[in-house]
């Protein structure tokens, strides 16, 4: 089990690290809400795909 937790903690730590790095871009509310309208093609593509990507489910639907 400790392997699972170590991996998860590393992964979660990396996500927090990315956020700390991104903090330098956040100066206005537009930076926060729409990334200062500065996302390039790779990030736009990834974040659009990711919006559909995850795992929610509805109890009455498959």
């Amino acid at each position: 089990m400790s392997v699972v937790w170590t991996t998860l903690v590393l992964y979660m730590g990396a996500m927090l690290g990315v956020s700390v790095y991104a903090r330098k871009y956040i100066k206005t509310s537009a930076d926060f809400l729409v990334a200062g309208r500065r996302l390039g093609l790779a990030l736009t593509t990834a974040t659009l795909a990711a919006t559909h990507y995850g795992g929610g489910f509805h109890p009455w639907r498959s």
Partner: protein, 430 residues
């Protein structure tokens, strides 16, 4: 999106076999169509939210308020469902679900509150790569373990109580024509009006990037759509307890991962699946925040608010909504289920007023408002079961039809105001 790409597609794979690819395909098709049609002109408006666009077109605060309320409720509900999904992932690998879900949720709230959409976009980029490689490798190793497609066929045929005949697992149309068509329609409809998608288009650096980003992400999801379906089938075939997956197909992917790799290497792939869940959860959270800050606070409470205040409010709102969704998901399940219905109401009510507003000059604000209300009520009628539908997705289509009829009639009976020049210009260019 309610049943999203990876876990949703796998759940369909365990139920419908290769027919399950249409779930992920629909997600991709929605984005592709968004890219071809609305992405570019919408980005040209350089607004923040879909209700923002509606107000610009119809010059009506009431329309903006109604649309923002429905969308916000839906986003919070679906966010609660992501908390359940995270919990299911932890439980599937034999860890305490609630503790795991709290842990994962606090992390994505923290990184979203700290750096907003920048953090969301950057983590999405990592998460989607991690999630795709994880599932791809799991499927490849799973296929080699089961003995390729022939082995998969043989294994499936030996499982009792399958939801459909084992031969049907290799039939792409096993889900039937009506469910196929309705799934495509419902998913495409939501993708064309969902705030979670438009916020990202508004965040792209220019119109061309918005258009190409939507097209590429659509093609990417369409190309990958066979992966979750195969993962669902393999999970069934390789499991020592297939009945558990038949009863709860959403656990298919995490179970496959642990069966194929054992709990050591499997941990890396469980992180990959959590990455997929969190990449959607952070999108919902940031979209909900945009409604509160732009459609409620700045639009109704303090239009002249200083930017520093709006930034602070965005951060605080992100934390509050995240915690609310977490608490609701863990304690009052019924509330989250109710909130998720607002997703059906939003899609049924807002689709026609937005699309007709763009393509029909004669659309009036009275028509749009009554059309939105009529479509929403039609959805409520379907949801409460006053009229019962054989498939849930009928609700969107019938809601949209009712809303279209009402909107066209009322618009023709009322007089249209001139459309904002900037709005007109943006959509002429497309």
């Amino acid at each position: 999106m309610v049943v999203a790409f990876i876990l949703g597609g796998a759940s369909w794979g365990a139920t419908y076999g290769l027919g399950g690819i249409w779930y992920g395909f629909a997600c991709g098709l929605g984005l592709l169509l968004l890219g071809i049609t609305l992405a570019k002109p919408m980005r040209a408006l350089a607004l923040y939210t879909v209700p923002d666009v509606l107000e610009m077109r119809y010059k009506s605060k009431a329309i903006r308020l109604l649309a923002a309320t429905l969308s916000l409720l839906a986003l919070v509900g679906i966010l609660g469902a992501q908390v359940w999904a995270a919990s299911a992932v932890f439980e599937a690998i034999g860890l305490p679900g609630t503790a795991g879900a709290v842990f994962a949720t606090l992390i994505f709230i923290a990184y979203t509150a700290f750096s907003g959409l920048w953090a969301v976009a950057l983590t999405d980029f990592i998460q989607i790569i991690l999630g795709s490689i994880g599932v791809l490798v799991a499927v490849m190793l799973g296929l080699s373990k089961v003995g390729g497609f022939e082995g998969l066929k043989v294994s499936l045929s030996s499982i009792p109580n399958l939801p459909q005949a084992s031969g049907e697992y290799f039939n792409f149309m096993s889900l039937g024509v009506s469910l196929f068509a309705l799934t495509l329609a419902a998913t495409v409809m939501y993708t064309l009006i969902g705030q979670d998608f438009y916020q990202r288009l508004f965040a792209s650096k220019d119109e061309k990037t918005a258009r190409m980003g939507a097209i590429y992400s659509g093609l990417l999801l369409m190309a990958l759509s066979f992966l979750p379906a195969l993962a669902g089938m393999l999970a069934l075939a390789l499991s020592s307890d297939p009945q558990a997956i038949i009863d709860s197909p959403k656990t298919a992917v995490p179970k496959l991962v642990i069966t194929v790799f054992g709990s050591g290497v499997g941990a890396i792939f469980v992180a990959a699946i959590l990455a997929a869940v969190m990449s959607t959860a952070d999108s919902l959270l940031s979209a909900a925040t945009s409604h509160v800050v732009k459609d409620f606070y700045q639009s109704f409470i303090e239009p002249e608010a200083e930017d520093k205040k709006l930034l602070k409010l965005s951060i605080v709102t992100t934390i509050i909504i995240g915690i609310l969704a977490l608490v609701a998901a863990l304690t009052i399940q019924g509330i989250v289920e109710l909130l998720i219905y607002s997703y059906d109401i939003y899609t049924s009510g807002v689709f026609v007023p937005l699309i007709l507003g763009i393509y029909w000059k004669r659309a009036t604000k009275e028509g749009a408002l009554l059309g939105m209300i009529a479509g929403s009520l039609a959805a409520v009628v379907g949801i409460t079961g006053i009229v019962s539908f054989s498939y849930w997705e009928y609700i969107y289509v019938s809601g949209a039809l009712v809303s279209a009829v009402v909107m066209v009639l009322v618009s023709l009976l009322t007089s249209a105001e001139p459309v904002d020049r900037e709005f007109e210009k943006a959509f002429e260019l497309s």
